[in-house]
């Protein structure tokens, strides 16, 4: 009845062995409780992840999903995972606030025989069932390449709006971008932290535009800061300044709509993996099948041309 849950991927040679992370029971006639530990629902992206999971799970009658929010607090998230272990959930989905701090509790759950799906940010080691997520470095790189090839083929000065200082995605999206623009004449002349927030993005863009009126584009680490930057640009008399974001959430206030309306020049889909997580959970619990150890989600460049279509597409599924 029990299946080994590891050693099924090409990327990670499984080493866990035993019954770690394998479900204690599976099958179509069971009822399963899934614990979903979210790092911070105050981020639109993560709220959408929860919503995607909720929507996808609604179509699996065997599933009940319990959501918890750590409000960007590593300790709190550890506590939540412990709570889920105490509750003996049948499967744990976690979108970690930071990798290392959550490694131990995830391992605790995994060692107790709870399958663990890690979303968005990988924990250390391999004591989990499956990682589903996109690659921030890769997205940054694609954004950089978009600048290099499409926006500023001849190079130029740009500004960067960064995510929260000290957070992993902010660093990765920056590093990837630098790789992407390598070899071009693009130069980041001003970079400020917008803490992922729209209003902070506006404020910082105000200053960037004042000090560097000659910049030719802004690279924002996410869409909301990009939206803020648009307002700043408009106020500064630069309504056409190219601004790109990341995330491309298919919601009313998300990046896709902003691209469609022309407020953002482009965005890069950073998929939440919510649907995929429920699909994987279904494989494990309902179908008693194994899932790959790593499932890297593709990103996609969204411009005005494909924004509406992408929006429709992403909201059609389940």
């Amino acid at each position: 009845l029990l299946l080994a849950a590891c050693g099924t991927t090409n990327e990670n040679s499984g080493s866990g062995g035993g019954a770690q992370g394998a479900p204690e029971r599976c099958g179509a006639d069971g009822q399963y409780t899934i614990g979903m530990s979210q790092a911070n629902v105050a981020e639109p992206y993560r709220q959408r992840m929860d919503d995607d999971i909720r929507a996808a799970a609604a179509s699996v009658p065997q599933f009940t999903v319990n959501f918890a929010d750590a409000a960007q607090d590593n300790s709190k998230q550890v506590e939540q995972v412990d709570n889920f272990i105490t509750q003996q959930v049948d499967l744990l989905i976690i979108s970690p606030n930071e990798a290392t701090p959550l490694t131990a509790p995830v391992k605790r759950a995994y060692d107790k025989g709870i399958p663990v799906l890690v979303l968005d940010r990988k924990v250390d080691g391999d004591a989990y069932t499956s990682f589903i997520g996109a690659d921030n470095v890769d997205i940054g790189r694609q954004a950089g390449e978009y600048f290099k090839t499409t926006l500023l083929p001849n190079g130029g000065k740009i500004g960067e709006l960064r995510g929260l200082a000290g957070s992993t995605p902010a660093r990765e999206r920056h590093d990837g971008f630098m790789q992407g623009i390598q070899g071009s004449k693009i130069e980041i002349v001003a970079a400020q932290d917008g803490d992922w927030l729209r209003d902070k993005g506006q404020q910082q863009a105000d200053a960037i535009l004042k000090a560097n009126p000659d910049i030719q584009a802004i690279y924002s680490h996410n869409d909301p800061m990009g939206e803020g930057a648009r307002i700043a640009a408009t106020n500064a008399g630069r309504p056409d300044l190219p601004i790109t974001g990341i995330d491309g959430l298919p919601i009313e206030s998300g990046g896709l709509k902003a691209v469609e309306a022309g407020r953002l020049s482009a965005t890069f889909i950073y998929p939440t993996g919510g649907q995929e997580a429920i699909a994987a959970a279904k494989s494990i619990l309902v179908d008693c099948r194994q899932v790959p150890k790593t499932q890297t989600l593709p990103t996609k460049l969204v411009t005005k041309d494909n924004a509406a279509a992408t929006y429709a597409e992403l909201n059609s599924g389940s």
């Binding site: 105050a42 001003a190 927030l197 506006q202 404020q203 960037i208 000090a211 206030s253």
Partner: protein, 341 residues
């Protein structure tokens, strides 16, 4: 004595230029920071970027929400209270106005009025809990901060609410987008104007009204105020109500500027507002302080952030610098001629 009588409002007996200067120490601090900003301003095409009128108005605009909050906070602090909920109420109001204008298709006036009423009500309720159960304001408003945040998130369904303008259903009236615009030849941002009007009203209120005397008296010696027949409870409740109302106003301005109702917006704004008030020379013990000081305090922080941003200073270093300046500004305030201890 006679000389003193000639300068009734500026100087205190024992004062003189120095005392006057320190009485308005935050203005003085503002001037200092302003001068520093001019000195360290980068220049473009031979012009100081900082002094560019567009930039100066940006500073006021960027501080307008904090400024509006800080005006309300000044009143609360004057009565010896504190209101930690304003940031969350700002978020709640921004969601509220966005939802009402778009999803509920309310008109501009009813939507704004309703949201202001919610802010007022929230504040009154907090004031009521504080006065009637005698719980410390810090605690009630700490709870209020969480509650308003929860409500904002529930109301918005978790995600921010975009505001689009137009005539159709689900679209907000164009007028609302004025909050993001500038007037007087596209120079003066409307939010800055609103902030200054609010501040001016508050200054006048605190100068001429009997209500203001009651505010100062409660902060200075609550028992004495009660014994003198000041309706202490009522004044306190109203002050918390006003603070909530102003927080809601700030939230509306916020939504209008960003075309967006953000349930998570306004986090930590309460601390910025309190900092502006204290830099402005208002004592956290209550009973002493002024709105003029608060406005100067808010602008001081705004100028500081602006010049650091213009110089592209690393955000971590910005944290350090702003922290130090806050302490310096508050320390400056203590240099004034010793009063009775």
């Amino acid at each position: 004595m006679t000389k003193v009588a000639a300068l009734p409002d500026l100087a205190r007996p024992g004062g003189g230029l120095l005392a006057t200067l320190f009485r308005f120490q935050s203005l003085f601090g503002l001037v200092l920071v302003f001068i520093a900003a001019v000195v360290y301003s980068p220049s473009k095409n031979g012009e100081l970027v900082f002094l560019d009128s567009g930039n100066l108005f940006n500073v006021v605009r960027s501080m307008s929400e904090i400024g509006i909050l800080a005006v309300g906070m000044t009143l609360v602090i004057l009565i010896g209270g504190i209101d930690l909920s304003v940031g969350s109420v700002l978020g709640l109001a921004s969601v509220g106005v966005a939802v009402l204008l778009t999803e509920n298709d309310l008109g501009l006036v009813p939507a704004v009025a309703l949201v202001l009423a919610i802010g007022l009500g929230f504040g009154l309720l907090q004031g009521f809990a504080i006065t009637s159960f005698g719980i410390q304001a810090f605690i009630v408003t700490l709870a209020g901060m969480q509650i308003a945040r929860g409500l904002a998130r529930i109301w918005s369904g978790g995600q921010g609410v975009s505001i689009t303008y137009g005539e159709g259903p689900g679209q907000a009236p164009e007028t609302f987008s004025l909050l993001g615009e500038r007037t007087f030849n596209g120079l003066v941002p409307i939010p800055a104007l609103i902030f200054l009007v609010v501040a001016a009203l508050a200054v006048v209120l605190l100068r001429v009204s009997a209500f203001s005397r009651h505010i100062y008296a409660i902060g200075g010696n609550e028992k004495a105020a009660r014994l003198s027949g000041v309706p202490v409870k009522r004044v306190k409740i109203i002050v918390f109500g006003l603070c909530g109302l102003l927080a809601a106003l700030a939230g509306i301005v916020h939504a209008g500027q960003l075309n967006f109702g953000g349930p998570n917006d306004g986090a930590m704004y309460e601390l910025d507002a309190i900092a502006a008030v204290v830099i402005g020379g208002t004592s956290l013990m209550g009973g002493r302080g002024s709105v003029v000081g608060t406005v100067a305090g808010a602008l001081l922080v705004g100028v500081l952030r602006n010049i650091l941003g213009l110089n592209n200073v690393d955000s971590n270093v910005q944290l350090l610098v702003i922290g130090l300046v806050i302490v310096l500004a508050a320390g400056l305030q203590r240099l004034r001629p010793a009063s009775v201890s």
